[in-house]
Symmetry: C2
Subunit: 367 residues, 2 copies
């Protein structure tokens, strides 16, 4: 277990790991997009706002096909820093994990099979009108989670949405969690002040203030959340009624956890957050301090480290860029726990290999 | 096994049953609709054309909720003859089978989670332009089938679409199968002549004739099929690569079988048709004669009989109305094979009970 970091509630985390070791999970990726993600300076992707509509479908296409269809190349910055989906893709391939996509609400539909739960693309939280049909989406996603629980030993749920830490912050602040300055960022400079102001303005727009939605998770998500959150929460609630669930992601998971803790707190006995070393070591954020306020859920991290990668585009993850996404940390844990043959070394090799393939494809397309 | 009828390829059928006995299946219902289903006289539902758009979503809502949302009552004729979905619902509840919906292309979306595979509602085969994007839908549905195969012991696939035997006839005739006069009908008087003429006119509209699409299943479906067919075929092809699959339906299955037999004939080793006694005893049709021409696939039927039901609306099934749909026969077989506690007597009791509940709900809504 040298590649597993127990970052919170160690004993519970170890018990959770014992329950799922050697078992067969299903991976569910929940996608969404919002106008919030397009606010300049908030997200790495915000510099080119249209990209925030394309990254989530491109991420799940990458998982299914090893290449993307909604964009001609792969989700990668011009200087070659790839989407964390490359980690997800590598862990999924090594473990041959079954793969499903849930559409929480995206403007551009992926060219893959996806489960529609009635979600629509999200608005801008500055308007205080962020997500439509929250209860309906939660209900349908819960039904979906129940079906997965019947077919598999446990469920790993990941997400792809831009601007997601700001909307997670929104939900937590609305629900009275002391979360300012505690969410992570995909950028090395975490724009906490801008995130905090954005959330405040969104609450202002509805004449509300921090904590007003302490017992109204539906309202919190509707006004200052994003469309990934209710779909993700529903899948977790449906599945965790009967089976273990890894909520695969960083501080965004805490917004979802707040929602679940008010609707179905009992299911959280079956839940762990699975993430990356980059998140639990993030000095600009505090995932443990967030979870402490919400529910006694373990945080388990894959001890992933790109320092020795052959590729600069991957090594740069060690400078604090990207950190997590597309369920990267949680699915890496699940892959390693599925089979002892899948070691962290194997995962890192596979990532290097897949990254080289993506570079080759990019080269070929440009030629 | 007194409640299982081996109607074709008995030995293969028995072997298939041995493979799946006691195992855990997933049930997938593929829905679609087409303008073909609205041709007067072709389908029981054709008398009220708008109903053909509503029945498939209503059927899957019935499975998830025990009641419908797109219509205020349940799919039932004014004189109380219920959708075969009531059989499906009863078998699913007794066996607690996981349930997924694939949208092959419906005009009215169901209020349940459903898997989008890129399908669109179908046209009228009289125009020779019946289904869009056939190859793309098959590709995505195949990916979906592969994921199900990874999570479960075997897969049961059913369907709901109006006018489906005419479009199945269309595909078979286009592909050179001698199918005229051999497909079943949901009505006691099987309108063979109208079906045959409709298919001929559809082929005429494209300047084609019977057999022209012998080796072009994509063309056959595009011109004279319906949108359920490619989605259903894809799910079967993806799943049957590695796991047994019950194609749950009547003579419509033969159109799908024709398509699969040209794209991935090898997977048919893992396939059986699962249907009802009403289909294999249907004197107005010939499912065995159809399968004989296409592939050596067993036909297994649930020996279901409503003669002793307490309710006239169910007993009337014995006069040759309805016969099959929503995977009723196949899921009944799967439920009985999952657990010896689920006998045909239990299934019939459950159907009577659920029918009474539906009547009560109808009564309550009208009051």
């Amino acid at each position: 277990m040298k590649d597993v970091i127990f970052a919170r509630a160690k004993e519970k985390g170890e018990e959770f790991v014992r329950k799922i070791k050697g078992k067969n999970p299903v991976f569910v990726c929940v996608i969404g997009n919002s106008e919030t993600g397009k606010i300049p300076g908030l997200s790495a992707a915000g510099a080119v706002p249209e990209i925030t509509d394309l990254t989530p479908p491109a991420d799940v296409e990458l998982l299914f096909y090893g290449e993307c269809k909604v964009i001609s190349e792969v989700p990668m910055t011009p200087d070659g820093i790839p989407t964390p989906g490359i980690i997800t893709m590598s862990a999924q391939r090594l473990s041959d994990m079954p793969l499903f996509v849930v559409d929480g609400g995206v403007r551009v539909k992926p060219h893959v099979p996806y489960i529609d739960v009635g979600g629509k693309p999200g608005g801008n939280i500055l308007t205080g009108e962020a997500v439509e049909d929250v209860e309906e989406v939660i209900e349908r996603a819960t039904l979906t989670g129940k079906q997965f629980a019947k077919t598999t030993d446990y469920v790993v749920v990941g997400e792809s949405i831009a601007g997601g830490t700001t909307t997670a912050l929104g939900v937590m602040v609305a629900m009275g969690i002391d979360a300012d300055g505690k969410v992570s960022s995909s950028m090395p400079q975490n724009p906490h002040q801008l995130k905090t102001e954005t959330v405040r303005k969104g609450l202002d727009a509805k004449g509300a203030k921090a904590g007003d939605f302490e017992d109204d998770p539906f309202g919190a998500v509707s006004f200052v959340g994003d469309p990934m959150i209710p779909a993700f929460a529903g899948v977790v609630m449906g599945a965790a009624e009967t089976k273990p669930v890894i909520m695969a992601g960083g501080t965004q998971m805490c917004g979802i956890l707040s929602v679940i803790s008010k609707i179905a707190p009992k299911v959280l006995e079956n839940v762990a957050i699975g993430t990356t070393r980059w998140i639990v070591e993030d000095k600009t954020a505090d995932i443990v301090g967030l979870v402490d306020q919400i529910a006694d859920v373990p945080i388990i991290a894959a001890n992933i480290n790109f320092s020795n990668s052959k590729y600069e585009g991957l090594r740069v993850y060690e400078t604090g860029i990207v950190k997590e996404g597309v369920g990267a940390g949680g699915i890496t844990l699940a892959a390693m726990l599925k089979s002892e043959e899948i070691t962290m070394e194997k995962v890192l090799e596979e990532i290097d290999k897949n990254y080289q393939e993506l570079l080759n494809k990019r080269q070929a397309k440009r030629a």
